[in-house]
């Protein structure tokens, strides 16, 4: 049967899904655990929908099957909905509340579901909504949004907090280490708060 812990990170090309998955990979190395991953490169990175699969303790292929992910981390609300079918029964979603409207909505008149409707469709899962854009600004840079989200989900990830923080410090540009560690910690607090309200609900 399935061993390991499977995480799907989704977002929009340019939001830093690759850095986020590298943080998980590096933290696995720190803990001496096997890890497999797969990610989107090439043309799709130009503002398109992107996904990174990370399989902690993974021994086989890098791809997570729909209906089997333990955790989904989404940098955009709409992308959370797009990939929600990857979640296993009882899995968790941590998503940014903010949403970038796809250009197809303007240029091709595609109908965009209302934010409230997206939430409604995600609510039957264990979903935490994180104000990642605001928290990233608070940490010092909107660019740290991805690290905020990693912090938010960190309580659910079976890797030590110190391993994850060490991975962040190692992988972000040297000048941004402080901002990113702050983003990670702020995110972790927000994730913990959200988790509490879940368990009480």
């Amino acid at each position: 049967m399935k061993t390991g812990y499977d995480i799907l990170i989704v977002g929009i090309g340019g939001q830093g899904t690759i850095l986020a998955s590298n943080i998980l990979g590096e933290a696995c190395l720190i803990e001496g655990r096997p890890v497999k991953g797969a990610e989107t490169h090439g043309m799709a990175q130009r503002g398109g929908s992107v996904e990174s699969h990370i399989r902690i303790d993974g021994r086989f292929g890098p791809l997570i099957a729909p209906g089997t992910a333990d955790l989904i981390i989404s940098f955009d609300l709409l992308e959370a909905l797009r990939y929600a079918h990857y979640l296993k029964a009882g899995g968790e979603i941590f998503t940014n509340c903010a949403m970038v409207i796809p250009t197809s909505v303007y240029t091709q008149g595609v109908q965009l579901p209302e934010e409230a409707e997206i939430r409604k469709r995600l609510d039957h899962q264990n979903t935490c909504y994180i104000e990642a854009d605001r928290l990233a600004q608070e940490a010092g840079s909107i660019l740290s949004r991805n690290v905020v989200m990693m912090g938010a989900a960190s309580g659910s990830i079976p890797l030590g907090n110190e391993s994850l923080r060490a991975a962040v410090a190692k992988l972000v540009p040297p000048k941004t280490v402080d901002v990113n560690l702050k983003a990670y910690d702020i995110g972790r607090d927000a994730g913990r708060e959200c988790g509490k309200s879940h368990r009480s609900a």
Partner: protein
């Protein structure tokens, strides 16, 4: 020895560094590009590395280096191997002295490609060994063996990772980087290197005679392995082997194929020990065809009987469906899940401030009834703007334009091609168009970089792969040398000048070239170029929506009015589109 979390292509590059290779040539193409991108940025290099102008050039350069006794690597994507097929086929005859590894990365599901061809077929066609890794670690280890194998049999070796190897990541155990320096020496031997008929007939026979020993050696290397565990068996190759291992029950036999050609006797012995055999592989039924040849009365399941798809990529879940289809149990069950309905698609788009967008805008405006053949690059995304009517392969914009014109089609034809693609295989098409009296316009979208594959330098950039300054090639001079009498260079951010240039060429006969030149907006940002930021005067905005239809991701609708978001790179093109003159540069930014 160390363990690192690496991208497949990074692991492959490291394997090459450990193998003390001497020369690397390649042309960028997803999913292969990062191999040379890693090699070209190493601080201390004991090797030569180049981005070549196309794959044929790259392979000939690498082949010649290997003739001189040094180790050479040549990288490309699968369709690049079509371009390099001419030297490939005969390189098997001439053979090599130093190891030559040809990396051709396949792209099942065509994540970033125009087709789903299988490079293994080329290895079979050329009769050279082919290695097909099933994991990032194996890709790293195999590429090291590939050089030795090439030297042992004096043949090029095809190394064939797929997207899910190249762009997968894993914890990889790495060896030490070798710093051996070799110096090539060309030893004259016309019977080997001058393939006149009298020589090539002999070389062909020699190539054929090498085959049985290659098959035996590949078994010894341990890339083709098997374990017998029951009456049923699964045979899988490349990454499909990893998917099979994830779901394989303990009582089913398993054979993993990682190297070709497969030894038929060895395969036959395994197959005939079973009642039913399922073959799982991506793309072409390469393994399956050999299995069917040796199966006798054993039942074989695979692609040819419809259990496994010819197209697309596999996964553990897809492999489980193939198992179920032919009555094989799986150790893992996957739930049936479908994506949420009515989620607007988010395809990749041209960047905010991309120079291609105004070119397509002006082109469509002037040539309302035009036909727009295009080519391979970021600008293929002009499809979304209705400005791309054909794309087939590298360099085929201008040739397709010629063909459409010579068919008797009377509408205006305006072809678009990027700088790198023009230099790859576009020049010949332009030369041919002029020589044979075509009437068409070619727009060279010159952003001075090979952008789509990750911003590799090319001859227009002014830098080599390793950052050494080199004179940028003059596209104008090339076009004029091809015989084009009207060559006009314009700044695509100047929408007025651009439109005037299109109007001008519309009325003229023959082959016309417009070179639209502006730095790629990503390169410009990385270089620290700041052009400011534009905003919409909300009182002046008439909500006409013309700027929204332009399709720039920096322009959104907020309520009824247009709004410019933080993605704005300051190109200013939208100021020329707004009929109410409501868009202005933001003060102080």
């Amino acid at each position: 020895m160390q363990t690192r979390y690496l991208l497949g292509n990074e692991a492959i590059a490291h394997g090459c560094l450990e193998s003390s290779f001497d020369v690397a040539c390649g042309y960028p193409g997803t999913p292969s590009s990062e191999v040379i991108d890693v090699l070209r940025v190493q601080r201390e290099r004991t090797y030569y590395v180049e981005w070549s102008v196309n794959e044929k050039v790259a392979l000939e350069c690498a082949l010649a280096a290997a003739w001189c006794g040094v180790r050479a690597l040549c990288t490309m994507k699968h369709v690049g191997l079509n371009v390099a097929a001419d030297p490939l086929m005969t390189s098997a005859y001439t053979g090599v002295t130093g190891g030559l590894v040809i990396l051709s990365a396949d792209d099942p599901y065509a994540h970033s490609s125009q087709n789903e061809q299988d490079s293994r077929c080329y290895a079979h066609f050329a009769r050279i060994p082919c290695l097909d890794p099933s994991s990032v670690q194996e890709a790293h280890d195999m590429v090291k063996d590939a050089f030795g194998l090439s030297e042992e049999f004096k043949l090029p070796v095809l190394f064939r990772p797929t997207t899910r190897i190249c762009h997968s990541k894993g914890d990889v155990i790495l060896g030490d980087i070798s710093t051996t320096i070799r110096k090539g020496e060309f030893v004259r031997d016309p019977r080997q290197y001058v393939v006149i008929p009298a020589h090539t007939r002999v070389l062909h026979k020699k190539l054929n005679e090498k085959q049985p020993a290659i098959k035996k050696r590949l078994i010894e290397l341990g890339y083709n392995t098997c374990m017998v565990r029951g009456e049923k068996a699964v045979i899988a190759s490349g990454i499909a082997a990893a998917y099979v291992q994830e779901i394989l029950p303990a009582n089913v036999s398993f054979m993993k194929i990682g190297a070709y050609p497969i030894d038929e006797e060895w395969l036959k012995e395994f197959v005939r020990m079973h009642r039913e055999v399922l073959v799982v592989e991506e793309l072409a039924p390469v393994v399956e065809e050999v299995v069917r040849q040796v199966a006798g009365s054993v039942t074989v399941y695979g692609k040819t009987d419809g259990h496994s798809p010819y197209e697309g990529e596999l996964s553990a879940a897809a492999t489980a469906r193939i198992f179920n289809s032919c009555g094989f149990e799986t150790a893992v069950k996957f739930p049936e899940q479908s994506p949420a309905a009515e989620v607007p698609p988010r395809p990749p788009i041209l960047c905010a401030g991309c120079m291609h967008r105004p070119v397509f805008y002006a082109m469509k405006k002037v040539f309302r009834d035009g036909i727009f053949p295009s080519d391979i690059g970021c600008y293929t995304l002009g499809l979304q703007l209705g400005a791309v009517d054909t794309t087939i392969c590298m360099g085929a914009s201008v040739t397709v334009a010629s063909g459409i014109m010579h068919s008797g089609e009377e509408r205006d034809i305006v072809a678009t091609i990027g700088d790198s693609t023009f230099l790859h295989t576009g020049i010949q098409g332009l030369l041919n168009a002029v020589y044979n009296g075509a009437k068409l316009t070619l727009v060279i979208l010159d952003n001075r970089i090979t952008a789509m594959t990750g911003h590799q330098p090319n001859p227009t950039t002014g830098l080599t792969a390793v950052g050494v300054p080199t004179p940028p090639v003059s596209l104008e001079a090339i076009c004029r040398a091809c015989g084009v009498s009207l060559v006009e260079t314009v700044d695509p951010y100047d929408l007025v000048g651009l439109t005037a240039a299109f109007r001008d060429v519309k009325e003229r006969p023959g082959v016309k070239v417009i070179i639209a030149r502006q730095t790629c907006v990503i390169t410009a940002r990385r270089a620290g170029l700041k052009r400011g930021h534009y905003q919409v005067d909300q009182d002046a905005c008439t909500s006409c929506g013309l700027c929204i239809k332009f399709g720039c991701p920096a322009i959104e609708r907020v309520g009824e009015k247009a709004h410019i978001n933080d993605l704005c790179s300051g190109c200013g093109v939208c100021t020329h589109i707004c009929p109410a003159a409501a868009i202005h540069r933001e003060a102080g930014r």
